[in-house]
């Protein structure tokens, strides 16, 4: 029984069941607060009513941290983190959170040209998720997740490379913000800053 609600600062107290997941980053409080402050409507959560019903309580089943940035045709929505409580996976929840972000930012006051995100090239599961939602690979960011800055954009490494995936929104009428065969385009992390 999923409801969607705005994320609030004290929700950070409720994230253990989600953030104890090994693939979910547990950020410094400042990071969550920055998103709440700068993009208050793009940080939201899904909640469930949990058993047993003696005292039905809301639990947070997932959340989306998003932002808007860039200029001109690069004005876009970025998915910073989307994650789902393991007891509520494979129900379409992550897709639901992505769709909500996409729909709310494709209109005013945001009106973005596209949505993008970074994902490890090895995170097949998440890549599947985004492909199902219509995203495609725009470029491969060499060394995006690495601990040192890469020197050569042609030196691929699955362990540290990420894909920049994109979905164009209705404002991008000519579909200029996406391309085919993006997985063959290699860039360095500095080239993906907005």
């Amino acid at each position: 029984m999923t409801s969607i609600k705005p994320f609030q600062a004290t929700d950070i107290f409720e994230l253990n069941p989600i953030n104890l997941d090994p693939l979910t980053e547990n950020f410094q409080p400042a990071f969550y607060l920055q998103y709440l402050t700068e993009w208050p409507s793009l940080f939201f959560k899904s909640t469930e009513i949990t058993a047993p019903a003696a005292a039905p309580t809301d639990v947070c089943s997932g959340y989306m941290m998003g932002k808007t940035e860039g200029s001109g045709i690069n004005w876009h929505t970025h998915i910073t983190a989307v994650t789902v409580n393991s007891h509520y996976r494979r129900l379409g929840l992550a897709s639901y959170l992505c769709l909500y972000l996409q729909e709310s930012t494709s209109v005013e006051p945001h009106n973005a040209y596209f949505v993008d995100l970074f994902v490890r090239v090895t995170n097949k599961l998440a890549i599947n998720l985004y492909e199902k939602l219509g995203y495609s690979i725009y470029r491969r960011v060499v060394g995006y997740y690495g601990s040192s800055y890469p020197s050569d954009r042609n030196k691929l490494d699955d362990a540290s490379d990420g894909f920049d995936m994109r979905l164009s929104l209705p404002r991008d009428v000519k579909k200029e913000t996406v391309r085919e065969n993006g997985h063959k385009v290699y860039v360095l992390p500095d080239e993906v800053k907005f």
């Binding site: 029984m1 999923t2 409801s3 969607i4 609600k5 705005p6 609030q8 600062a9 004290t10 950070i12 107290f13 994230l15 253990n16 069941p17 953030n19 104890l20 997941d21 090994p22 693939l23 547990n26 950020f27 410094q28 409080p29 400042a30 607060l33 920055q34 709440l36 402050t37 700068e38 208050p40 409507s41 939201f44 469930e48 009513i49 949990t50 058993a51 047993p52 019903a53 003696a54 039905p56 393991s86 007891h87 509520y88 996976r89 494979r90 129900l91 639901y96 909500y100 729909e103 709310s104 209109v107 005013e108 599961l125």
Partner: protein, 809 residues
């Protein structure tokens, strides 16, 4: 800051008090009227341990109502350090009344913001709104929001203010109409509701602002709630339909509103139809909402329950979703269990395994007459075995529901363990959990249980190993570190540096996070993200008053003393004022729930209490421990009197709801009696001390020797003996009080005995108990294919390490 001022601060910080005073006097000669340098002088007194001089000088400066921001900031720091919080705030308030300049008011506002003081922010923001200027509209929002926040967070507002502020805020917001963004509408809506205005005004404001655009999520929720409150069923129904269909937002909260309003409008059949056909064949939300609809109509839940289960019985949510309806009297438990029995699949893949685990969860929840614990435990073992191969094909980081089978068994084994056999059950559970964790490295519930059980058996390095797998950091430190660090200065191998690091990590986390929250709350005002501010301030306050933080502070003092680590002791004392203050709202943010999210999702209170490391520690425990520490070294009679007063209050709270273990209580009582004896010289008190010393609560025996209790008992006794020795060296007693010497000898003997006979007897007793334990647990691994000897070896080596610690104390 000028170079001269820098020199003054450097001298103060380095403890060069004389030099600092000289430098300040020099400046004062040049500028005799400078309230700033006078304030610096008070500040220097404070650091030179001259609190009363600092206090009277600060009062004198305050009486002159200084107004330059630098002086005000410094003066309020001095008052705050003197725990004169009200005076610190008054400094600004009085200045603002006399000289309401923008610079002064903004620094007053920031000061209150840094203190997360909603009432103070409200006061300052009212001035900001009055001064207005280029940011008139923003400042009006600040002031109005602060009116709401002061009421919502109940921060020091009077009853009258609780009534007054919302109307005041509403009036300010009304002047801003038409609203320019959803944040303004939000503030207005919140205030209007709090002021008890006609609800239609909120609806109008939201609708006028939104027009034909899509509703902002926050406003959407407020609108639905307001319409429901007004019993405006038609509008509620239409709004719900708009959200569900026009926005295509499948939101359970909205479905509930649709059901409520639909039933009021006699549209139950239409609602049923909508639920059944939403996006083709309905969704998880609509299937669950159909159950809710049946419940409202008092119709049997069985058919919609089965309809839901057919689609979601093989998803982990199958249990929690449905169990939220089970308390409904028309939930046909027996019929549902029969349905589940009839459908039971072979475990062949993750889906069938999930189905079976959900089945077991329901069996445990519904406990029909056929339920047998023994049979249930055996079934869980069989299912775990039968599905184990699935663990090999999953990604290491994927979630695996099958672990719940073993967790359910652990909770049952611990629940049903006979008196005296709990340790045996705990060790058996450790074997199961180690096996499960080996096969599923990242499962956090298993790890928390391992941390708790190893801590219970006083195996601190093993508890630490499992804790570290979870990579606990940032806010999780406030929420989860208690599993590892509860009563740790008296239960762990305290010389373990890794444990020490955990405590230091906590001591760094709190001030850093407090700073971050201040910074971003300020940013939220600047950027007009008003709907996030109230709970940011709430978060700030919850961390300031965090129980976990206070426990860490007390533990830092105690552990720092044991280790001779002065920095740690100092870090602990920095928090001491908060612990003593009655006014600070204590906030228990600790997470006692997440590790119970398995099986029925309910906390088994009996098991929780059985494996706890002593009674739950909150601020009473912290206060008693801290006051005890302060009593040991305090020599000023007036201060000791104050400490006694606080101690009596804390002890009364302790009697009402105990937080000390028996031996901790004994130790506090001795310290109190001894210090009372010092002030009153009443011989009855020294007799009481001596007789308490002679008869401490009984030391743990039997299988308890293998638990945290053994280490704890002897550590507290040793710490008390040392504290008494320290007390007697700091406080002088005239020679004729001969019993004091008796006491000193007694402490010496006690410590000596501890190092020799006690340790020897603990060691021998533990060994005997361990042999018994080993014979009971050794075979247990066969059930899950794990070598139980590994767990036993761990327990044994921790036992030996703990004895070595006792010997060194």
């Amino acid at each position: 800051m000028s170079a001269k001022d820098q020199l003054i601060f450097a001298a103060i910080n380095e403890g060069a008090h004389k030099q600092a005073q000289q430098l300040i006097t020099k400046q004062l000669k040049k500028q005799p009227k400078s309230t700033y340098y006078l304030t610096l002088q008070a500040y220097a007194y404070l650091h030179g341990n001259k609190a009363s001089e600092a206090s009277s000088l600060a009062d004198k400066i305050a009486a002159q109502t200084p107004s330059d921001p630098q002086t005000l900031e410094m003066l309020s720091i001095v008052f705050k350090s003197l725990k004169e919080y009200k005076k610190a705030m008054l400094v600004y308030e009085n200045a603002a009344k006399k000289y309401p300049t923008m610079a002064l008011i903004t620094s007053w506002f920031s000061m209150n913001l840094d203190n997360m003081d909603a009432r103070g922010m409200q006061k300052a923001a009212m001035y900001l709104a009055k001064l207005g200027g280029a940011k008139q509209r923003d400042y009006t929002c600040y002031a109005a929001l602060c009116c709401y926040m002061a009421v919502e967070l109940e921060s020091g507002t009077t009853e009258l203010e609780q009534k007054l502020f919302p109307s005041l805020g509403v009036r300010m917001m009304e002047k801003l109409q038409p609203f320019q963004n959803c944040q303004e509408v939000y503030i207005y809506a919140k205030l209007s509701k709090a002021a008890g205005q006609e609800a239609q005004l909120v609806v109008d404001a939201i609708q006028t602002f939104t027009g034909t655009n899509k509703l902002d999520l926050e406003l959407q929720i407020i609108l639905l709630e307001t319409l429901a409150l007004m019993e405006s069923w038609k509008a509620l129904y239409e709004t719900a339909v708009r959200i569900l269909y026009d926005y295509n937002l499948d939101d359970y909260n909205t479905w509930k509103h649709l059901i409520t309003s639909g039933l009021k409008l006699d549209k139950s059949e239409i609602v049923r139809d909508l639920l059944g056909t939403y996006n083709g064949k309905g969704s998880r939300n609509t299937l669950l909402a159909t159950i809710a609809l049946h419940s409202e109509l008092k119709q049997s839940l069985h058919a919609p329950v089965v309809a839901y289960y057919e689609r979601f019985g093989s998803k982990p949510c199958g249990y929690p979703d449905l169990a939220s309806f089970h308390a409904d009297e028309i939930f046909a438990s027996q019929q549902f269990i029969e349905y589940l029995e009839a459908q039971k699949p072979e475990v062949t893949d993750i889906d069938t395994l999930t189905w079976v685990v959900n089945h077991q969860r329901f069996k445990l929840l519904l406990r029909t007459s056929a339920f047998s614990t023994k049979k249930f435990i055996n079934e869980n073992f069989q299912y775990y075995e039968a599905s184990k191969r699935l663990l090999q094909s999953k990604e290491k980081t994927d979630f695996y529901l099958g672990d719940e089978l073993l967790l359910m068994n652990c909770a049952l084994l611990l629940d049903e363990a006979e008196e005296g056999k709990f340790v045996e059950s705990a060790a058996k559970c450790l074997v199961l959990l180690e096996a499960a964790a080996k096969a599923d490295h990242h499962e956090p519930h298993l790890r928390i249980w391992l941390v708790k059980l190893y801590s219970f058996l006083s195996c601190s390095s093993l508890a630490l190993k499992h804790y570290d797998v979870m990579n606990i950091k940032q806010m999780q430190l406030d929420l989860l570190s208690h599993h590892l660090l509860g009563r740790h200065s008296s239960t762990i191998n305290f010389s373990d540096n890794l444990m020490l690091e955990k405590l230091e990590q906590l001591n760094k986390f709190y001030p850093q996070t407090a700073y971050e929250i201040q910074h971003f709350t300020n940013e939220a005002f600047e950027k007009g993200s008003y709907n996030k501010i109230v709970l940011m301030v709430d978060l700030g306050n919850k961390l300031v008053g965090s129980v976990n933080k206070m426990i860490a502070a007390v533990e830092s003092i105690k552990l720092g003393k044991l280790l001779g680590n002065k920095a740690l002791v100092r870090a602990g004392y920095t928090e001491a004022a908060n612990i003593r203050s009655e006014t600070v709202a204590k906030s228990d943010n600790r997470d006692f729930r997440t590790h119970w999210f398995f099986g029925t999702n309910q906390t088994n209170e009996k098991v929780r209490d059985r494996m706890a490391i002593g009674p739950k520690q909150t601020n009473v425990w912290c206060q008693l421990q801290l006051l005890k520490e302060l009593l040991i070294t305090e020599t000023s009679e007036a201060k000791v009197k104050q400490l006694h007063k606080e101690m009596n209050l804390a002890l009364a709270r302790e009697r009402a709801s105990p937080e000390l273990t028996a031996i901790e209580k004994w130790s506090v009582e001795i310290m109190v009696a001894l210090s009372q004896y010092h002030t009153s010289k009443d011989v009855k008190l020294i007799d009481a001390v001596l007789s308490l010393m002679e008869s401490p609560p009984p030391a743990p025996r039997g299988s308890e020797l293998l638990t945290w209790k053994a280490v704890h008992h002897h550590m507290v006794v040793a710490e008390l003996a040392k504290s008494v020795q320290l007390y007697l060296s700091v406080h002088s007693f005239p020679k004729k009080y001969t019993k004091v010497y008796e006491l000193r000898d007694m402490c010496g003997n006690q410590l000596e005995a501890l190092r020799d006979e006690t340790v020897a007897s603990v060691k021998q007793g533990q060994l005997q108990e361990f042999m018994v334990l080993e014979s009971k647990v050794l075979d247990w691994g066969i059930l899950v294919g794990y070598d139980a000897q590994l767990v036993l070896n761990g327990i044994r080596s921790s036992m030996e390490a703990n004895v070595a610690v006792l010997r060194r104390i």
